[in-house]
Amino acid sequence: MKILVCMKQVPDMESKFKLSPGALWYDTADLAWRMNEYDEYAVEQAVRLKEQVGSGDITVLSIGPDRIKETMKKALAMGCDRGVQVADDAAMAKDPLAIAGIIAEYARSRDFSCIFTGMQSQDRGSGQVGPLLAEMLGLPCVTTIVDFAYNAGEYLVKRELEGGVRAIVKVKGPAVFTCQLGLNTPRYPTLPNIMKAKKKELLTVPVAELQKLAGQQETTRIFFPEKKGGGLVLEGEIGALADQLIAILKDKTSVLA
């Protein structure tokens, strides 16, 4: 069974981001990089699927500059069999359509039975690559899965909806799934597996070989949101205070939508 996992390397979200004037994305200098959190669940599920069927081969694919190789090695250490680095120093500027196009070009004639991606990336957060990839390959797709089961060519998954409700969906393979946090518990790459990952195949493919689709949107500006002003102090009659606070919560948060 051939499995594909699409993985992205992102900066640690605790980082202090810096923007140089005229920049269209955050500064990449002095950042700590890590696997996109949603993709950890995707890698873990792929490894579990392979363990279940006994004979599987997992390819982990990622697009970016050489520094992504370290994160790809983590995926290999978690249990992927081989890696494909699509070498692209300008990956960060590409929109989801261009990214999905590159992956589709790679996956097209390779007959993957199952494709996993994270449901969104922590930096860009569009959540589009999975469904776009499926459309390009003509495959069914279910997003935001928090439960996964496979049996004889058919998948039974559960989508996480608002309020914690789950939608149960059956799909015949091959199919694309985008993974939500909590789908499983991603394993630590054990030290011996980290050492063994050194010997696994990690190919580099120049992006020019795979990019056939141009992007359809552009980032024109990137900026920090306005800092919240100094705190508001409210005093007065209880009923009026409650009304005031409710109005503020409706205005400033999505809690009372």
């Binding site: 890590r34 090695k73 630590y188 790459p189 054990t190 030290l191 011996p192 980290i194 050492m195 990952a197």
Partner: protein
């Protein structure tokens, strides 16, 4: 005027008859201060494990003086940490000493007791068996230790033999194809929990001082081998420290480690490696304390200003960070040498000396930065300060490290 070759110049590549701790040189390769991708992945993995699983109970385990084997050892085995440096044929991971230093540092950053559990197990018990054991001993004892199926400990110290290992009074008398051990060991880390012990005893009563001592492998539950009192300590309270009591304890002669009379050499070579472990533990403690101090200083406001903006505090934090970085380079230098077959006694002595004294200074300073809050048990720095002190004492006191370095310098 002493000749150039006699003065240790800390220039890379300069050949002296003393090991130069600053040399990352190996032949004509350039200096590379970067960690490999594997070392980075190992750091990330151990750090995540330490923060997620070990840190939440560090305070309560210290308070209760409780060792949690499932967490502090079995989980390490599952992650492949219990045999990091040993070859795969003996159940190890085949990684290097820098990877080991990183693992111990990351564990100690959140819990010094967990760091020493790994260090004592690997450097003090598994390693001497690896260095001096015969093939049967390696298969029978090293492999289960490397795989973390069994935990190890090291029994050298006695009531009258601390720094003066030659004061060893525990005896081992040959009797047919056995040895009979009698004596007491004190202050033994992992005691009571460990299954395998590398223990030192006098086999030749006539020999003087450190001659005539031999090393043995003894297993828990051997008749005549019991545990004495559990020490109540200032720090690393989650790590069990107990006495080993040998009362006509009979062990097979096949469990002699190395040859008779070689014990002192086994102990000293073992402690060379153990120093890297303890230096890494001290480094982790210091790192954790510094981070706590920096984070606190950024939040704590006095006079309407975060105290991190006051120069007095900034100078203290700067000193902490600089000393830790210096200690780290010494630790990595020693670890590098250990992995590349370069003699590393002085390097590891310098690393342990520097790291342990840095840990004591940095943790004391961290308590000071946190002020009244730092003195309470709600914040981790007082525990880190209590934990740091032992690193200046065990596995060779700072005085012993100074002797090692001084003697080599003045030979």
């Amino acid at each position: 005027m002493p000749r150039r070759e006699e003065v240790p110049l800390l220039l890379p590549g300069f050949k002296t008859n003393l090991t130069s701790p600053a040399a990352f040189f190996a032949g004509d390769k350039p200096m590379n201060f970067e960690l490999t991708e594997e070392q980075n992945l190992i750091r990330d993995m151990v750090r995540e494990f330490a923060e997620t699983e070990v840190a939440p109970t560090a305070r309560i385990r210290d308070e209760e003086e409780r060792f949690d084997r499932a967490l502090m050892f079995d989980r390490l085995a599952e992650l492949g940490l219990t045999g990091i440096v040993f070859p795969e044929e003996y159940g190890g991971a085949g990684a290097d000493y820098i990877s080991y230093a990183i693992a111990v540092e990351e564990l100690s950053r959140v819990c010094a007791s967990t760091g020493v559990t790994l260090s004592a197990h690997l450097s003090l018990c598994a390693n001497p068996i690896y260095l001096f054991g015969n093939e049967e001993q390696k298969q029978q004892f090293l492999a289960p230790l490397a795989r973390g199926e069994k935990m190890g400990a090291f029994g050298l110290t006695e009531p009258s033999a601390g720094t003066d290992a030659g004061g060893t009074r525990t005896t081992a008398v040959k009797d047919g194809d056995s040895y009979i051990l009698n004596g007491t060991k004190i202050f033994i880390t992992n005691a009571g929990e460990a299954e395998t012990y590398v223990v030192f005893a006098r086999t030749d009563k006539a020999a003087q001082k450190h001659h005539g001592i031999s090393a043995f492998i003894v297993e828990k539950n051997t008749p005549g081998f019991t545990f004495g009192k559990k020490e109540q300590k200032m720090g690393i309270r989650s790590s069990p420290t107990m006495e080993l009591v040998f009362d006509n304890c009979r062990i097979p002669a096949s469990q002699l480690l190395g040859e008779e009379g070689m014990g002192f050499k086994v102990a000293m070579k073992t402690l060379d490696g153990g120093r890297i472990g303890i230096a890494s533990q001290a480094l982790g403690i210091a790192q954790g304390a510094m981070e706590a101090a920096v984070n606190y200083a950024k939040e704590r406001k006095q006079f309407d200003t975060p105290i991190a903006r006051f120069q007095g505090i900034q100078f203290q934090l700067a000193d902490m960070a600089t000393q830790i970085e210096a200690a780290r380079l010494l630790v990595y230098s020693a670890a590098y040498k250990a992995s590349h077959g370069i003699s590393y006694s002085q390097a590891s002595a310098m690393a342990k000396l520097m790291a342990s004294e840095t840990a004591m200074r940095v943790t004391t300073q961290a308590v000071q930065v946190l002020g009244g809050y730092g003195y309470t048990r709600e914040f981790p720095v007082e525990r880190m300060m209590r934990d740091a002190k032992i690193t200046e004492i065990y596995e060779g006191t700072s005085e012993v490290q100074r002797l090692v370095i001084g003697t080599a310098l003045t030979k």
